[in-house]
Structure formats: structure tokens, C-alpha cells
Amino acid sequence: MSREYEFSFPVVGENFDDAGKASVEIKRLLKELGITGDILRRTAIATYESEVNIISYAWYGTINIRVTDDNILVNILDSGPGITDIEQAMVQGYSTANDRIREMGFGAGMGLFNIKNCSDGFEILSEPNKGTLIKILIKR
């Protein structure tokens, strides 16, 4: 019998105090579902980077996770300024982070690159002044 699980986590922009909180919780839930090793590691990196992106750049957003027998599907939808040049944003080391974000060790310009690198499927859609949707697929 196939089973599916779905979780949703809200993330608030600028809330650096709680950065990583949703991802730690997501990892715990995935572990409870028996997901381990490289799949768990890759999902944790992808959700963490997504969470930090929402906090750093958007007003608010949601991380949705769907776990099926074959895949882990993560949709990250935010309300925010959007990304005007996606191709440039994907380049390793490119970042629009301000000094305050960088001082904390964020804004290395690795977030989207890390997410893509950890995913078996990756799609990014963005509309300026509206927000960004990132769809990630990780095969189990």
C-alpha cells in the first residue's frame, strides 16, 4: 500500500533568530518516516538553504514537503521581491545579501546552487515584486 505524508512550515522574513528551526523540525519528521543517509542529508541542506533564503530576502513563505514511496517533493513558495535574473542568481558566489546578513555568515551566494546540487529535480519560477516558487524533487 502506498502512503503519502505532507507537512507545511511557515517561515517569516527577517526572523534570523529562528533560522534553521523549520529545517531541524523537517529533518526530525523525515527521520521518523525512516528516511536516512544521503537522501536525508540532501533534503536537510535543500530545506535549510530555502529557509534561509526566505528569511534573508522575502516577507514570508512556506516550505511544503510531500513524501511519497518514491520521492520527496519540496515546494518553497514565498511572497517577496522575487528574482529578476534567475540565471545570475544561480551562479555560485553571486549574492545580493546586505552586510548584516553577510556578517552572520549567510549570503555566500551558495544557497540556490546548494539546493540544486542536492536535488534530482529543480525548478524555479519567480515574478518581480510578487515572489518565488522553488520546486525540488529528491528521489528516495
Binding site: 534553521g20 555568515g105 555566500a108
Partner: protein, 111 residues
Amino acid sequence: MNLILLAEKLDLTVRCGADSLDREVSGGYSGDLLSHVMANSRKDDVWITCQSHQNIVAVSALKEHAGIILVLGKEPDKDTLEKASLEGIPLLVTELSGFEAAGRIYSLLHP
């Protein structure tokens, strides 16, 4: 090698997580850019950094590090200590530089 022995050899001071010091350290990662640490560090690594704010705890929890070593005499923020205690992540401090701490830990792990 576990953290107790490592702390002894490098004369590190334990700030929290004393209960988890028997944890085995299999390697290390040195860095202050959180995305690099997320991408490149491994489970059971000891993380050497000069970042002392609370966000290091989530990174370390997600990567399942053996512990965090703050170098250059950095002290963890109050929030960092609270969160690390809650997650059971050992936080240790030293006056050593990141270079020296990493070098000495590498020598101990790869005699």
C-alpha cells in the same frame, strides 16, 4: 577519538554539552560561511568557527556535528548557549586561531 580527549589535548574549555563529550569525532570542518559548512561538512565532524551567534546551532544540528569549537577567544552568545544546550551540541572555546586548532586536530585524527 572523542571530544573529551580532544578537549584535553588542545586545552579547550567546555561551555555546554558536557554530557555529549563522549561522542566520537571522525573529522573536522573549518569555516565561517554557513552555506559552505552546510554543503561540505560531514556528520560527526567537529566544526571550527569564529561565528558565535545562535544560527550556528541549527547548522550543527542539521549536519549532526560532534561539536562546535569557537576559536580566537570567541564566546557563544547567550542564545547560542541556550539553543546548543537544548540540542545537546557541545560548544567548546579556545584562544587558538582556526588555523592552529584545525592543524592540531588534523594531526590528532591522522597520526
